[in-house]
C-alpha cells in the first residue's frame, strides 16, 4: 500500500506542477504582456482557467495531506526548517486566490480592478518561485536539524544559489506551460502569434534558468550532473524531453492545439521524473549526509493502509467528475463568459 501512496504523492505533485503551474503561468504571462493587450489576455485566460482553477489547487492540498498523514516526520522536518519559504508561498497562495476571485466577483468594475490585477500578477510570480525554492532546498542538502544558530537552521536551509535558481526555473516552466495552453485558446491569428512569441520567450528563459541551476549546483557542490546523467532513466528522460520539445515547436507551426498541450505536459513529467528518480525513495537530503526517506520514514502501517484506501476511493469519485468538468468546458468554450459577465 505504501507504493500506492507514493504514486499518489508523485502524481499529485505532477498535476500540481502541470495544472497549477499553467495557472500560475497565466499570471506570469500577464506580467509580460503590454498594457494594451492586457485586458484581452486576461479575458482569454479567465475563460480558459475559470471553471477549473479551484480544482487545480486541490492537488497541493492532497500532496500535503499525504505528507502529514503518511510521512509525519518528513512533514514536520520540512515545516520546521523551511518555515520561512513555506510562509511566503502561503502568502502568495492567499493573495493570488483571493485577487483572482475578487476581480471576477467585484460587482463594480472600477480602479479596484487595477489593484487586484497587480496583486494577482505579483503573487503569480512569487508563489512558484518559492515553490521551486522549497523543492530545491529539499535536495540541496542544506537542511540541518543539528544547526545551533538561527541563520543556519532557518535561513541558509533554503537561501542558496541552487534553490533560488530552481525557483526561477520553476517560474519559467509555469510561464511556458501557460503560453502553450493559451495558444489553443486564442480566438484569432494575432492572439495566437502573440502567445507563440510568449511561449518562445518562456522556453528561452527556462533554458537559461536551467543552465543557471547546473552552474549553481557546481558552485554549491551539489552533484546534480551526476544525478541527472548518471543513470539510464535520467538520460532517457532528458532525451525524451528534448525530442518532444523539438516536436512541439514543429507542431505549433502546424497549429495542433491538443497535441502540443500533451507534449508540454509530457516534458514536465520527464523533468519531475529526472529530478526525483535518482533520490527515490529519499525526499529530503540533510546537511550531515543523512536523508529522510519515503520508505524508512513512513508513518504507522495502519495509517498508510487507510490513507491508501481513502485515496483510491476518493479518486473513483474525483477523477471522472474532474474529466467531465474539463471536457464539458472544452466542448463549448464560447459561452463561458456570457453569464459571468452578463451584466
Amino acid at each position: 500500500m505504501i507504493y500506492v501512496v507514493i504514486i499518489f504523492l508523485w502524481v499529485a505533485l505532477l498535476l500540481y506542477l502541470v495544472m497549477g503551474g499553467a495557472d500560475f503561468g497565466a499570471g506570469i504571462i500577464e506580467m509580460f504582456t503590454s498594457n494594451k493587450n492586457k485586458s484581452r489576455t486576461r479575458r482569454i485566460m479567465y475563460n480558459a482557467i475559470g471553471p477549473i482553477w479551484e480544482a487545480n489547487h486541490m492537488w497541493l492540498i492532497i500532496a500535503i495531506v499525504i505528507l502529514f498523514v503518511g510521512f509525519p516526520v518528513i512533514y514536520a522536518t520540512m515545516s520546521t526548517y523551511l518555515h520561512i519559504p513555506l510562509t511566503v508561498m502561503l502568502m502568495g497562495i492567499i493573495a493570488r486566490g483571493t485577487a483572482l476571485t475578487f476581480r471576477n466577483y467585484d460587482a463594480v468594475h472600477d480602479h479596484m480592478q487595477k489593484i487586484y490585477n497587480k496583486i494577482f500578477v505579483y503573487s503569480s510570480f512569487v508563489t512558484p518561485l518559492f515553490l521551486g525554492i522549497i523543492a530545491g532546498s529539499a535536495v540541496s542538502g542544506r537542511v540541518d536539524p543539528q544547526a545551533t544558530n538561527f541563520m543556519d537552521a532557518y535561513i541558509y536551509s533554503w537561501l542558496n544559489w541552487f534553490s533560488v535558481a530552481i525557483g526561477f526555473f520553476t517560474v519559467a516552466l509555469c510561464g511556458f506551460l501557460a503560453a502553450i495552453y493559451l495558444i489553443g485558446e486564442a480566438n484569432d491569428d494575432i492572439e495566437r502569434k502573440s502567445f507563440i512569441r510568449k511561449a518562445r520567450l518562456m522556453n528561452i528563459a527556462a533554458v537559461i534558468a536551467g543552465s543557471v541551476v547546473f552552474i549553481a549546483s557546481v558552485k554549491e557542490n551539489i552533484p546534480l550532473v551526476q544525478w541527472v546523467f548518471g543513470n539510464v532513466i535520467g538520460i532517457a528522460a532528458v532525451s525524451a524531453a528534448t525530442i518532444s520539445l523539438i516536436l512541439l515547436w514543429y507542431l505549433i507551426s502546424k497549429g495542433k492545439r491538443f497535441i502540443i498541450r500533451v507534449l508540454a505536459g509530457f516534458q514536465m513529467t520527464m523533468i519531475l521524473l529526472t529530478t526525483t528518480y535518482k533520490h527515490y525513495p529519499n525526499i529530503i537530503i540533510l546537511k550531515n549526509g543523512g536523508h529522510l526517506s519515503l520508505i524508512e520514514d513512513q508513518g504507522a502501517e495502519k495509517a498508510i493502509q487507510s490513507l491508501g484506501i481513502a485515496l483510491l476511493v476518493g479518486s473513483v469519485f474525483i477523477l471522472p467528475a474532474l474529466f467531465y468538468l474539463v471536457w464539458s468546458f472544452q466542448q463549448k468554450p464560447d459561452q463561458v463568459d456570457s453569464d459571468m459577465h452578463g451584466h
Binding site: I64, Y105, A303, L325, F329, Q335
Partner: protein
C-alpha cells in the same frame, strides 16, 4: 504564545469563511429549486446573487484552509509528527470532499444555460453536501484532540494506531452535530439580517424579502434545535473533559446537588464566583439526569491541568446567552409565519433580525473559544501538552503579526466586495423594482 494566537486567529477566520461557504449553497439550492418549480425569475436572481457570495466565501475558505493545513506543521511540528498518522483519516477524506466541492462549484458557477437544468441544480446541491461533509470531517479531527482514541501510548511511543477508531472518536458525533447546526444558525441569521436591512430601506423589497425568508427559516430551525445538540455536547464534555466543563461553569467545588452557575465573575484566587445566579442541583441534572450526583469541580483537578477559567467561563456564558436569544427570535419568527403574517412588514420585526446579524457568529467564535481554551494546557487531551508541541523556531511573533495583517485585510476586502454586490442588486439582479428612497 504567539503560535497559539496565530492558530486561534487563523481558525477564527477560517471558521467564519467556511461556515458561510458550506451553508449558503443550501440556501442557493432552495431558491434555485423554487425558480425551477415556479418559474419566478426573482428566485433565479436570488440564486445568482447568492452564488457570487458562495464563490467569494468558498475561495477565501479554501485559501484559509490551505494555509491551515500548512500551519499545523509550521506551528506544531511535534504535534503533527505524532498525531498526523492517527487523526489524518478525516483530513484525507476531507481533501476528497473538498475536491468534489470545488469541481461541483465549477459546474455550478459556469454551468448556467449549458447543462440540463436539473443537473445544474444537482451540482449546486453537491456543493452544499460535500461542503457540509468536509466541515463534519474537520470537526471530527478536532474532536479527536478532545477525546483521543485509536492508539496506545506506551513509554512515550504512539503504537497500535487505528485511524478509523480515531476518526470515530467518542466526541466526533456530538461535536460535529453541534458545529453543523451552529453553522446553519449563524449563517442563516447573518444572511437574513443583511436582507432584512435592505427590506427596511425599501430597496428591491420583493427580492430581499424572499431572500430573507429563505435564509431565516434555515437559521430559525437550526437555532431552535441547537440547545438539544448543546446538551449532547455538554454530557460528552462532562465525561471526557471534566476540567473543561468545570471551567465552563466556573464550578470550583465538588459537592452533591451541584449548582448551575449563570453569569458572574469567577474569582479564581478565592475559588468562588461573584454576582452569579446559582440554580442548585441543575448542573447535576443536566449532566447525569438526577439532581444529586456531584459533578467534578476544579478542586479535584490539579492546578497544572486546569484551563484558564475566566476566559472559558465567559465564552461559554456568552455562547449560551446568544444561543438563547437566537432561539427566542426563532420562536418569534415561527409565530410570524403561522399567526402574524403582518409582522413581515413591521419595522420592529425586521429590526430585530438586523440586530441579530452578527450574533450567530459571535456565538460560534465563543463556542470555539470554549472548546479550544477549555482543553488547555493540553493539545491532545491528557496526552500531549500544547507547550511541548510548538515549533522550536524563534520569532513566531513576527509571523503572527504578518498573518494578523493578512487576515484583517482579507476580511475587509470580503466585506467590501459583499457590500458592492448588495449595492449593485438593483442593476444586476433585480431591475424590475425601481429604487425608491
Amino acid at each position: 504564545m504567539a503560535a497559539r494566537s496565530q492558530m486561534a486567529l487563523s481558525l477564527g477566520f477560517h471558521i467564519i469563511f467556511s461556515c458561510i461557504g458550506m451553508v449558503m449553497p443550501f440556501f442557493m439550492a432552495v431558491s434555485h429549486f423554487l425558480w425551477l418549480r415556479t418559474g419566478n425569475p426573482v428566485y433565479q436572481n436570488i440564486t445568482k446573487a447568492w452564488s457570487k457570495g458562495v464563490a467569494i466565501f468558498f475561495a477565501t475558505g479554501a485559501v484559509s484552509g490551505t494555509v491551515l493545513s500548512f500551519e499545523l506543521g509550521l506551528l506544531w511540528p511535534t504535534f503533527m509528527k505524532h498525531a498526523g498518522p492517527i487523526f489524518g483519516m478525516p483530513f484525507s477524506l476531507e481533501g476528497t470532499a473538498f475536491f468534489i466541492e470545488a469541481i461541483a462549484l465549477g459546474f455550478f458557477l459556469y454551468g448556467w444555460n449549458r447543462f440540463n437544468r436539473w443537473f445544474h441544480w444537482f451540482t449546486g446541491v453537491v456543493v452544499g453536501i460535500s461542503g457540509l461533509l468536509s466541515g463534519i470531517l474537520v470537526v471530527a479531527a478536532n474532536a479527536w484532540m478532545n477525546s483521543p482514541a485509536g492508539f496506545d501510548l506506551v513509554d512515550g511511543k504512539y503504537t497500535n494506531i487505528d485511524p478509523i477508531k480515531a476518526m470515530f472518536n467518542p466526541a466526533w458525533f456530538s461535536q460535529a452535530l453541534h458545529m453543523s447546526v451552529a453553522a446553519f444558525a449563524a449563517t442563516g441569521f447573518a444572511v437574513a439580517g443583511v436582507h432584512a436591512l435592505m427590506v427596511m430601506r425599501k430597496q428591491n423589497v420583493n427580492f430581499h424579502l424572499r431572500a430573507f425568508k429563505i435564509a431565516a427559516i434555515f437559521g430559525v430551525i437550526a437555532a431552535i434545535l441547537q440547545p438539544l445538540s448543546g446538551d449532547i455536547s455538554a454530557k460528552m464534555v462532562a465525561k471526557r473533559q471534566p476540567a473543561k466543563l468545570a471551567a465552563m461553569e466556573a464550578h470550583f467545588e465538588t459537592k452533591p446537588y451541584s449548582p448551575l452557575i449563570i453569569g458572574g465573575i469567577p474569582d479564581v484566587k478565592n475559588k468562588k464566583v461573584d454576582y452569579a445566579i446559582e440554580l442548585p442541583g441543575m448542573l447535576s441534572f443536566m449532566v447525569y439526569d438526577d439532581f444529586k450526583t456531584p459533578v467534578k469541580g476544579l478542586d479535584q483537578i490539579p492546578e497544572k491541568d486546569q484551563p484558564p477559567i475566566a476566559v472559558t467561563h465567559y465564552a461559554f456564558q456568552l455562547m449560551v446567552a446568544l444561543g438563547m436569544l437566537m432561539m427566542g427570535l426563532g420562536i418569534l419568527y415561527l409565530i410570524a409565519i403561522w399567526k402574524k403574517k403582518s409582522w413581515f412588514n413591521k419595522r420592529w420585526f425586521l429590526k430585530l433580525f438586523v440586530w441579530a446579524t452578527p450574533i450567530g457568529f459571535i456565538a460560534v467564535e465563543a463556542g470555539w473559544t470554549v472548546t479550544e481554551v477549555g482543553r488547555q494546557p493540553w493539545i491532545i487531551q491528557g496526552v500531549m501538552r500544547t507547550a511541548d508541541a510548538v515549533t522550536p523556531m524563534p520569532g513566531i511573533g513576527y509571523s503572527f503579526y504578518l498573518f494578523t495583517a493578512v487576515y484583517f485585510t482579507l476580511s475587509i476586502a470580503v466585506i467590501f466586495l459583499l457590500y458592492r454586490q448588495i449595492k449593485m442588486v438593483p442593476e444586476i439582479y433585480d431591475n424590475t423594482n425601481p429604487v425608491s428612497k
